[in-house]
Amino acid sequence: MSGRTDGLAVETAGLVKTFGETRAVDGVDLSVPAGTVYGVLGPNGAGKTTVVRMLATLLRPDSGRARVFGHDVVREADAVRGRVSLTGQYASVDEDMTGTENLVLLGRLLGHGRRAARERGDQLLTAFGLGDAAAKQVKHYSGGMRRRIDIAASILNTPDLLFLDEPTTGLDPRSRNQVWDIVRAVVAQGTTVLLTTQYLDEADRLASRVAVIDRGTVIAEGTKGELKASVGAGSVHVRLRDAAQRRRAGEVLRLVLDAEVQLESDPVALTARVGAGGRGAAEQAARALAELARSGVTVDDFSLGQPSLDEVFLALTGRGTKDEVAA
């Protein structure tokens, strides 16, 4: 049996799950080191949630193998359940019950006595800033509060592995920051966190390793540094004064940066990746800007940004190539 913070928390090989004709998960191999935050990044419908549900023993894999702390998720499901907690995409608490009642219910189901369950629930509600809402039914909570009570319910017994399925989707920036604080506090105490997200930014802030999933398969995996190096450290966004110059600007950028150029829906805007292969992004961007000026293209606005998930996808899958500037 693997320990709480050494070895692998999750290990999957060739995991497959089919729903009717759709191969939601199509051969996923993952190795999640214990004691870290592991990000699973991908768009809606990529298969992230299905992977998490199989790991949390909610779905049976059609084929392949998955182990959580060395326990098989199908044959030793009960042992797995003893060590994991799941916070789903939708609040996994009873909306008709109050915050306190929810935590007492789960505390009792985890084996605490009535008094201990009540005490632990109160402490968690206070720590999560939900003390004032403790006696209110969860259906009256805001999105951020729901997410917090949901996570509180997941750490009633400090789990060895916590699944957070898109914990910040739909939250305002403030609530999102609070969730991030909680995740950091949880992992600092030795819990492994497997986080799914649509936001590269979120994976970047929290995760030490990231797997990018698309159409049910892992298309890239590594540390954040490795991933960025493979994708390009960022992108330059250029706005021109004159839409007629866009074609020319695109050609210049493609030559200078040796990268794909995307035309935005705004007729005067273009985007290109920079910094691929570890080259200095800022330096490249500066050269591109100088070259644009030299070839007579008037640039109105210019920015250097992190690659968006779209851009990561473009780089990793090569999809969307038809939108690029034709040579």
Binding site: L58, L86, S92, R108, L109, L110, G111
Partner: protein
């Protein structure tokens, strides 16, 4: 830009990282709860939900009163000469019919819960698997008890005089509760099997109407055509109604009671495992 929380909520309280860290420090995990304790905890949840949504008691209070009044005065004069005489035959039967009909709400509430995320959490807990389902049934047993009390009270007021006294009536109600608990596993199965609450409701109706009305609840089956008698005489609801009627009348309806308990065991043994298989497979 401001983000607004629902009226009155205090979303401004922030997360306290230090107290959270203190709470997370590896705490002794308690032993897992026993099967009984987990089931009772889920039963407690069902009771809490009645507290928060008391409207759901309507079907165990107003509905049974309506049933007693309606059938007593509608059929009483024609079938037994007077409503008062008919009531002696009808009340145990209408009690059985109403409670068995109410059991079908179990499936609907199971279905309503599945649609919500809370079910996923229950299914990832290291507890005795059937306890979630048993909890529903325990909560429902409370509802059936309330329904029985209400109907017996109305019956007594209208002139029902059970020869079996308190003991006989209690035995009858107890048998009814045991049967309903077992019978409800059919509904938990449908709750897990069917796609929508509506379909759970309509399939339940299709099962419950023939089963309750084609029985000896209203009249003695001797006047029915032979093919119908064959069904009625082998209907579990008939056995249950005969047993409850006998017990409340102070008799000892051994055959009907044994039949009823046999059906009870059959329902649990067949539909319990099917329910749990669906529960695990979802």
């Amino acid at each position: 830009m401001t983000t607004t929380a629902p009226a009155g909520s205090k979303d401004l309280a922030s997360v306290s990282a230090e107290s959270l860290a203190a709470l997370l420090v590896a705490m002794e995990r308690p032993a897992r709860p026993s099967a009984l304790s987990a089931s009772l905890t889920f039963g407690w949840r069902a009771v809490l939900k009645i507290k928060h949504v008391p409207e759901q008691l309507f079907d165990v209070t107003a509905f049974p009163v309506m049933m007693v009044l309606m059938y007593t005065y509608l059929f009483g004069g024609a079938l037994a000469g007077t409503p008062g005489e008919y009531l002696q035959y009808l009340l145990p039967g209408i009690l059985v019919l109403s409670v068995v009909m109410i059991t079908m709400y179990t499936g609907v509430s199971v279905k309503a819960d599945i649609e919500k995320g809370v079910f996923d959490r229950f299914r990832t807990l290291p507890i005795w698997r059937p306890s979630t389902m048993v909890g529903y049934l325990l909560g429902d047993a409370l509802r059936y008890t309330i329904a029985s009390m209400v109907m017996l009270t109305v019956g007594l007021v209208l002139g029902y005089r059970p020869a079996g006294g308190v003991g006989g009536v209690a035995a009858g109600v107890a048998l009814l509760l045991v049967f309903s608990f077992a019978f409800s596993w059919i509904w938990t199965m449908f709750g897990l099997l069917l796609r929508t609450e509506k379909s759970v409701m309509s399939v339940s109706m299709m099962v419950i109407f023939p089963l309750t009305f084609l029985s000896n609840v209203f009249v003695d089956p001797r006047t029915m055509p032979g093919w119908l008698q064959a069904f009625v005489d082998n209907n579990p609801v008939t056995h249950l109604a005969s047993a409850v009627r006998g017990l409340m009348a102070g008799g000892w309806p051994a055959a009907a009671t044994v039949w009823t308990l046999g059906w009870t065991a059959l329902f649990v043994l067949v539909f319990g495992p099917v329910t749990m298989r669906l529960y695990n497979r979802r």
